[in-house]
């Protein structure tokens, strides 16, 4: 799943949630969020990703965040969440 906006914030949280829910219902063994274009996120979105992580862990789905930008990773580390979410640069 790819996000095509520069910033993912509270304004988009409802929409992102419904997309993530849809991805969960697919019952695929793995969900990958492609964050190539995303530079700005806020705590609201990070919280949502963490909630997704809780869901995927329950269902034994693997969650990966790929193509994470430096600013995204920086934001994650400021919020102390970089160890919690699995990020990759590719």
């Amino acid at each position: 799943m790819i996000f095509e906006t520069d910033s993912l914030k509270i304004e988009q949280v409802e929409e992102v949630k419904s997309q993530l829910l849809a991805a969960l219902e697919n019952e695929a063994p793995m969900i990958t969020l492609d964050l190539l274009y995303v530079n700005k996120v806020d705590l609201c979105i990070i919280q949502l990703f963490l909630a997704l992580q809780k869901s995927t862990q329950k269902k034994n789905i693997q969650l990966t965040l790929k193509n994470c930008s430096e600013s995204f990773i920086n934001t994650l580390s400021l919020s102390g969440c970089s160890d919690l979410l699995k990020c990759s640069h590719e």
Binding site: M1, I2, F3, E4, T5, Q12, E15, Q19
Partner: protein
């Protein structure tokens, strides 16, 4: 994912390209005003007189909750006052004064038509044979073998001049 696609609906209406003009009667003469200046045309409402104004400033009226000054342009342009009939109408125009948009109502005797004229059709104002002073006329519009004077709103609704009061007590 968040990109939206706009489908352009290109229904082309085949009409004459150009600005619209309102043609109307004052007494028995046809005149025109630029359509872009007109915000609406209503039936002549009740007018409340404001004291000490010039004879062509009739007072104020209520246009959907807003106070609008009313100008008798027959009186301003020609002799005599307007005579109210079933067809008497009020054209609401917007004019800029002191940096503020002011709405003014112009009393006309009868709406005739809305017509489109292209810019090149506008003619110079002649010096003679006009129903009103050439000062008030911006251009002439060729219409059905005749020429209709296009009134200048700036000259017609010159608020600087019209706001001067006539003090009956000296």
């Amino acid at each position: 994912m968040f990109s939206q696609i706009f489908v352009d609906d290109e229904d082309d209406m085949a009409i004459k390209e150009g600005p619209q003009y309102l043609l109307f009667y004052l007494q028995s003469n046809l005149f025109a005003l630029r359509g872009e200046l007109i915000s609406e045309i209503v039936e002549l409402p009740d007018i409340t007189k404001v004291p000490w104004m010039q004879p062509c400033v009739k007072g104020i009226c209520n246009i959907r909750g807003a106070i609008v000054g009313v100008l008798d342009i027959s009186a301003r342009l020609m002799q005599g006052e307007f005579v109210q009939t079933e067809q008497t109408s009020l054209i609401i125009v917007s004019t800029l004064y002191d940096g503020l948009i002011q709405k003014i109502g112009l009393i006309i005797d009868k709406v005739y038509e809305v017509e489109v004229f292209e810019a090149h059709e506008l003619q110079l104002v002649p010096n003679f044979g006009l129903p009103v002073k050439s000062y008030y006329i911006e251009a002439m519009l060729p219409y059905k073998g005749d020429f209709i004077p296009l009134l200048s709103l700036d000259k017609l609704a010159d608020l600087e001049f019209l706001s001067q009061r006539e003090n009956p007590h000296g």
